[in-house]
């Protein structure tokens, strides 16, 4: 009996190890490649590790390509997206969760519909509309677009949380002479902070990773975000794999940190968004 369960345990842990390797391996391979001296890069059979790591390719990634600029662009766009989605998200989620008014279901329908339209159908009209008002190649234009498509998720997360806050807490604040806005700022927002954090993480990851809109709305080389900039690294004929590897490793550092530190929140956010929504 014990022997049988021991074998089971061994199989279970082997499965888990295999899964972890499968998940991490491409990133590991990239990381190792980015550290290899050039003569080891294309050696056959491939080396799974290197004893003589070099930072040369990282220096190249920052010198031959404006990687730092792409970093800055991605950060600015993600921050604009975050601010807009959180403010507008609260403005929808609070009334939906707490106030009675006509047309609530229509508002919810609109929120759901926003996540239904395929991005590739929307990108051309949005592109031509932004061109008409001169918002192509602008951080605001891209941030606003990212915000629109991240908003539904934020509304779901926040309205679910606002509904859970006991009505009495808010009533007490109102009787004490607070107005609605003060009650919202002083009672609801502090209680909503964890959900806001989860929503922020997901919005940040979405915006940081988004490709289609970032690619089409920012055609100027100096305005590219990280994924677009790295995708455009390759020259006409050659593929500078080592530099690309180094650039990718640098570009995913914030994501790796976010996932390792906030794994719980991310999982919760995704499951709440999908299961309750």
């Amino acid at each position: 009996m014990t022997r049988y369960s021991n074998i089971n345990k061994i199989i279970f842990f082997m499965t888990i190890t295999a899964l972890i390797i499968l998940s991490f391996f491409p990133l590991y391979w990239l990381f190792i490649s980015s550290l290899k001296p050039s003569d080891q890069l294309f050696s056959m059979p491939p080396k799974l590790f290197t004893l003589t790591p070099t930072l040369k390719h990282y220096a190249a990634a920052f010198h031959t390509q404006p990687l730092a600029l792409y970093y800055w662009n991605s950060t600015v766009v993600a921050c604009i997206t975050l601010v807009i989605t959180l403010i507008l998200g609260c403005m929808i989620a609070y009334p939906v969760a707490r106030l009675t008014f006509r047309g609530k279901s229509a508002v919810l329908m609109l929120v759901v519909a926003t996540s239904m339209f395929p991005a590739m159908t929307m990108v051309l009209p949005i592109f031509s509309a932004l061109r008409d008002i001169g918002l192509l190649n602008s951080f605001i234009g891209l941030g606003v677009t990212h915000a629109a498509f991240s908003l539904p998720m934020v509304v779901w997360l926040l309205s679910a949380l606002f509904k859970e806050v006991p009505m009495e807490l808010e009533d007490a604040a109102l009787i004490d002479g607070y107005n609605r806005l003060q009650a919202f700022l002083k009672i609801m927002l502090p209680l909503a902070a964890p959900a806001m954090a989860t929503a922020s993480i997901l919005v940040f990851v979405n915006s940081w990773n988004e490709f289609l809109f970032s690619f089409t709305l920012m055609s100027e080389a100096g305005k590219r975000t990280l994924p677009v900039g790295i995708m455009m690294f390759p020259g006409e004929f050659e593929f500078p794999w080592a530099t690309i590897s180094a650039a990718i490793v640098v570009s995913v550092v914030p994501l790796v940190l976010v996932i390792l530190l906030f794994q719980k929140q991310v999982v919760q956010g995704l499951t709440n968004g999908a299961v309750k929504g």
């Binding site: 507008l88 008014f101 395929p118 929307m122 109102l174 994924p227 570009s251």
Partner: protein
């Protein structure tokens, strides 16, 4: 002398009525700006893309103007073999990837739902493929697939499993499989997280009851777990299908649609028409068709799979 309780009662009704009046105005004031914002990014573009699809708009030939052509663009699409090919590829790709993603996703979710040391680390590890940008994932795999100095050929040859390098991304069938593998690798984790939420919402008592009634673990899995997960499955299925039908980044980074146009998805073709050939009218018509396809498939799912509780 009025009793104090009455005064409080009166004050309460007054304040409540006052508040309710305020509620409506407040709701209106708060809701209006974000609703206008959302309409600007949903209703307006969808109307505009439909309007554009009824015109001939060749941005590279401005002297042609933008004449109204009715449904000509749609008629052209029906005769366009590249449209049918990319649509067929998109449907086949979605079918294969979604089926495998559900299988692997369920497997991952069941494992992540068990209690064992370092569980949170394992969960984070499962999240990785999903959390990194699709294009950079695609580039990473493109390198590993590379026929001359890629990892896969290198290892397979070192182990003596193959005699000469396989051109993974160079032949039609292999490229299709290669694209699907990356998609499944990347999104099984997303599927797993959603299903994990469903698994966690099933209480332990029901399994204990089944155990007492003499059900085996396999029976419990098929008779309790799967039926209770049905709605979560539906959500995951609809979300994943909608996303796969929109796949663009992956092919763009991995194969650029090649070899030939064999791994060109419909969104990729739309992108080529709209942003490289600058045929905005025709590109818009294709965009509307993509929307119709996705909408129709979602409706089919809901019609056949959704049962209100």
């Amino acid at each position: 002398m009025p009793s104090p309780s009455i005064t409080i009662q009166q004050r309460k009704t007054v304040s409540r009525r006052h508040r309710r009046l305020n509620d409506k105005t407040l709701a209106f004031l708060l809701i209006t700006p974000p609703v206008l914002f959302l309409l600007l990014f949903t209703l307006y573009p969808i109307l505009r893309v439909f309007w554009m699809s009824l015109h001939q708009i060749s941005v590279s030939q401005p002297w042609l103007g933008t004449p109204f052509v009715g449904l000509d663009n749609y008629a052209e699409a029906m005769k366009d073999t590249r449209f049918w090919h990319s649509t067929g590829f998109t449907l086949a790709f979605s079918l294969v990837t979604v089926v495998f993603e559900i299988g692997f996703g369920l497997f991952l979710a069941i494992i992540a739902n068990k209690t064992f040391p370092f569980r949170s680390f394992v969960r984070a590890a499962i999240l990785f493929p999903w959390a990194l940008p699709t294009v950079t994932n695609a580039l990473t795999w493109r390198w590993m697939y590379n026929s001359d100095y890629g990892l896969f050929n290198g290892l397979l040859m070192q182990w003596g499993w193959i005699a000469k390098p396989i051109n993974w991304l160079g032949s039609t069938d292999l490229a299709f499989i290669a694209v699907c593998i990356v998609a499944i690798w990347k999104t099984s984790s997303f599927m797993a997280i959603i299903l994990l939420g469903g698994l966690q919402s099933i209480g332990h008592d029901i399994y204990e009851a089944a155990h007492i009634d003499g059900a085996s673990r396999t029976q419990a899995f098929f008779l309790i777990t799967l039926p209770l997960l049905k709605n979560v499955f539906l959500v995951a299925l609809v979300l994943r299908t909608m996303h796969s039908l929109q796949a663009f980044d992956l092919m763009f980074g991995l194969t650029q649609g090649g070899p030939g146009n064999s791994t060109e998805s419909l969104p990729m073709y739309i992108h080529t028409k709209a942003f490289i050939d600058l045929e905005w009218g025709y590109g818009s018509a294709l965009g509307v068709l993509l929307f119709v396809i996705i909408f129709a498939i979602s409706m089919l799912y809901l019609k056949f799979l959704y049962e209100p509780e």
